[in-house]
Symmetry: C2
Subunit: 320 residues, 2 copies
């Protein structure tokens, strides 16, 4: 009996699984190609084989050493019943994945939307441990969100809540794929910052950003931050404007949720304390409850690249 | 035994109390002046006297006919423990109002922030009956909000959540008293619409709004709506722009919460179906979950002027 958990990150390209202890530490991991499109039953078999192989290759017994298996998947997921209502990218609807996998595995399976596994990871074993109310905001290709509300994952009526990236912060602003204009993620995602950075570099051939990143095709969300730290005024201007956008949306979410902790994840959160130090003055000035006895704390998320696996595994701890 | 409830709306000017049945119908009401500033103990005595008088004058027995008493008050309120953490306007902190009143009354007392009583009224006896996840957004002097999340009032970590009026929808837009710029309530409150209306009237002496409201000092949120219905282009333009603002913030909240129902209250909601018909196309177009099997429904709140009393009374039903 090792009291371990398996987390499965069911992505569009790969299925990644990891053996995780209850502190969120990954002991071993393995992945296979998702190979979409395929019938759900084939994916279920692959998930079983992946978990079995992962255990065997690392000297663990699936039945004796693993308490439960958690699955994080895109789409709208009814976590309580373990059903993927709809996953447009994968082409699945009403996939009773929990029931099916429990039959195959003969053990407890938990399923959640992959944005929600990130908040579970932080609340169970990360930087929001023990919080009854917490948010994760991921600054990646888009801006995603997950919320823990009164000790539970918040999914909304139709399991599609927390699309915080599609909160408009600039009415009639930049066009978004979702059909709106001025969405938070058009300004505050890593992708948006990279795009703004490339545009600024073209205008400013003198900028140190060209030293940081000689080939404009390699520009990413870090480029402007690095240049700012080297004393580049264009890089600094970009970062300061980015932080204004980010603060605008974050304070919106703080005024709405007043969580105990907000954890920032995704690419931009690699800037860590440097980012937090730029952000905090906005929160101190604009949080509606800035004079309250208890205030929200904004932190960097603990779990990064493997947050999907860890969060999925932690579903079992959260449901214990 | 009449199985009734008393709701007390503890406002800055008046303390209003009503005897309410469990369908939310007010049977009798009465009010006294709040006369701030005063020690909490005096207010507690006045609340007791008000409720006693209300019962006696209407032929009810406080102890036999009333199941519980609910209090709605401004400020940050810990509803579970019944403590007013902080009420800046009244000057109270750490007011153990539930405990104190239970001693005076010898019966169950429930306390909540007055914005939260509105959502309780709608969920228990109004237009969101039975919803586990619902929002109320009030379009009055400001824009207020209350949320029911997984069957519970959502107050946030510090009992200051749901300040939806202070969500920025136009970054660097109109100045708000809260210290931010571009807050939702600077565009979508009844007060904002009245202000925009007065400004448009001054620019357009030909507008029918001058017929609707010959004295500009009487302009309110209804003026532009009335003129639009009379065929006035300036009134119509104002209303359409107002609805764009309102839709922007509402869709933000829908994308964040995906509640079963959103109830609109406050002055502007008097426009009822006329307002909803203008609003719905934006939601159909911009709700991120517009293709979900289950979708949010936007409605007008059932309870209006007496929502404070009714919601406070319904706290007893909600906690039963």
């Amino acid at each position: 009996m090792q009291n371990l958990y398996i987390g499965v990150d069911l992505g569009g390209t790969n299925i990644a699984a990891g053996i995780v202890d209850r502190t969120g530490k990954i002991i071993a991991k393995k992945s296979v190609r998702t190979n979409l499109p395929r019938p759900e039953s084939e994916l279920e078999k692959d998930i079983f084989n992946l978990c079995s192989d992962l255990c065997r290759e690392n000297g663990y017994s699936l039945n004796k050493d693993i308490i439960s298996i958690g699955i994080g998947t895109p789409g709208s997921v009814d976590g309580k019943r373990g059903i993927v209502w709809s996953n447009v990218n994968f082409g699945y609807t009403n996939w009773t994945i929990k029931e099916n996998l429990e039959k195959i595995f003969g053990m407890s399976i938990f399923v959640e939307n992959d944005a929600n596994t990130a908040i579970v990871a932080e609340v169970i074993a990360g930087n929001a441990v023990g919080c009854k109310n917490a948010l994760v905001v991921t600054l990646g290709t888009g801006v995603g969100g997950g919320a823990f509300v009164d000790g539970q994952i918040y999914s909304g009526y139709n399991y599609s809540a927390l699309e915080v990236g599609h909160m408009v912060i600039r009415q009639n602003g930049r066009k978004c794929n979702c059909g709106r204009r001025g969405c938070f993620e058009r300004y505050a995602s890593a992708a948006a910052l990279a795009k703004d950075t490339a545009a600024a570099m073209k205008k400013h051939p003198e900028s140190l950003m060209w030293q940081v990143c000689p080939d404009i095709k390699d520009v990413n969300a870090q480029t402007a931050f690095d240049a700012m730290r080297m004393g580049d005024p264009t890089g600094e201007k970009l970062v300061r404007r980015y932080v204004e956008y980010l603060a605008c949306g974050l304070v919106n979410l703080i005024n709405i949720f007043q969580p105990e902790v907000v954890c920032l994840g995704g690419g931009v959160s690699n800037e860590k304390e440097f980012l937090l130090d730029l952000l905090q003055p906005y929160i101190d000035r604009e949080d509606f409850a800035r004079n309250a006895r208890e205030r929200v704390t904004v932190k960097i998320a603990k779990f990064r690249n493997d947050a999907g696996i860890i969060g999925a595994a932690m579903l079992g701890v959260n449901n214990a």
